[in-house]
């Protein structure tokens, strides 16, 4: 089990937060996701056999939010 923090740009309210938590939370290999509107990021705990930092970043990006991996 690993954890990463992905920067997420473009969220404006709590419903944005919930939408991301719900959609990404459904993915295979997801243990937990906590999105912060204030910090503009998503803290994700996942199974590295099923997801990678890039696959997670891309999943958020595909929803229409600008997602960036912090080095």
């Amino acid at each position: 089990v690993r954890s990463i923090v992905v920067s997420v740009e473009g969220m404006t309210c709590n419903s944005c937060v919930q939408t991301i938590e719900q959609q990404i939370g459904k993915l295979n290999g997801l243990h937990s996701i906590k999105v912060s509107l204030q910090e503009k990021n998503a803290a994700i705990i996942y199974n590295p056999k099923l997801q990678t930092p890039e696959s997670l970043r891309e999943a958020i990006d595909d929803m229409g939010f600008n997602a960036i991996l912090a080095d």
């Binding site: 473009g10 969220m11 404006t12 309210c13 419903s15 944005c16 939408t19 991301i20 719900q22 959609q23 595909d62 929803m63 229409g64 939010f65 600008n66």
Partner: protein
């Protein structure tokens, strides 16, 4: 080009920006977003299914309203 109208359950600017981004990513579309009425009209050669699937990527409820 056919023009299609969709319902997308958008509640804020974040939602309408997300719709803008997924549609621009798809490409080959010209669109108008009416956040207040939760409507998106799209002019495109893409099929209705493709457009609907693209809108659903935002995680919002979306449905097809018809040709305009």
């Amino acid at each position: 080009m056919p023009k299609h109208e969709f319902f997308v359950d958008m509640t804020c600017e974040g939602c309408s920006n997300a719709v803008t981004r997924v549609l621009n990513k798809l490409g080959g579309v010209q669109f108008d977003i009416d956040l207040h009425n939760k409507k998106v009209s799209i002019e495109s050669e893409h099929s209705v299914d493709t457009l609907l699937d693209t809108l659903k990527k935002t995680g919002k409820t979306a449905s097809y309203l018809g040709e305009k």
